[in-house]
Subunit: 125 residues, 2 copies
DNA sequence: TTGCTAATGCAAATGCATTTGCAACAATAA
DNA sequence: TTATTGTTGCAAATGCATTTGCATTAGCAA
């Protein structure tokens, strides 16, 4: 039977509050603000559970490593800020479906990544 | 001074012939058809050189690992076949620029990945 | 041809993200 | 409260892609 621990609660809260994909490091440091003893292995174990139960989804890009985000979102894509190294959701889809494919290729799904500077970084400049 | 070795020549030929992104395993096995002794370390060393001199570009996606492709191509995106696990180029750009961004985000570049079944796999079925 | 040294093959070593064993701890059912 | 057993923290262990040390091989300038 699954128990509700404070570590687990903290992780859930973080994902509910930060509305964007998060990496393990980031999750760990945000989590330690609530539970000082929070351990990396605990984060990994819980992320794995949350993915298995379908509450989180995993997302990875070479430039930003592995990220996790809530699974309850509609189809969307991501923006990656090269300045603060954070990922953001871009609601909606900017794929031009008519020109997307090539004859003979059966497209089942897709991913789009935009790179650049996020609002807070460009304001700070 | 850089020497032209037969291993190097084989690697270049492979990239010129196969007109799509290739992974290390694939390069190694294609290369061994020409030079039986071809070693993985040699492939890695040469790929690194070719990237440094700008002849190749590196590309990575979690589902397909690290791939390399010639750098002399125009802007394009990639199709990844979940059946044969190969990557293909999709000439042109299917990004709907007007709907791509979000207010405040400065987009500098982007990547698009399409997933599905490639022509030869769907014919073979 | 010959000499110099870049390049190769092989195996061992790295670097890193993620996983795991284990003892101590803590969330529930009774 | 108490017993049960899921969880955590810690450190050591994995798994893997990529790199490196070294002896041998082989381009290429002279």
């Amino acid at each position: 039977m699954i128990r509700q621990t404070k570590q687990r609660k903290v992780l859930q809260d973080i994902f509910l509050k930060e509305n964007r994909p998060l990496g393990v490091e980031e999750i760990l440091s945000l989590g330690r603000e609530q539970v000082t003893s929070l351990n990396q292995a605990t984060v990994y174990r819980n992320l794995k559970l949350m993915v298995e139960e379908g509450w989180l989804e995993r997302l990875a890009h070479e430039a930003f490593g592995t990220l996790y985000e809530r699974a309850d979102k509609e189809h969307h894509h991501h923006f990656l800020c090269r300045s603060c190294n954070r990922a953001f959701d871009l609601p909606g889809c900017a794929l031009d479906h008519d020109n997307a494919s090539l004859s003979g290729f059966q497209v089942e799904n897709h991913e789009i990544y935009l790179f650049g500077i996020c609002p807070s970084c460009s304001t700070a400049a």
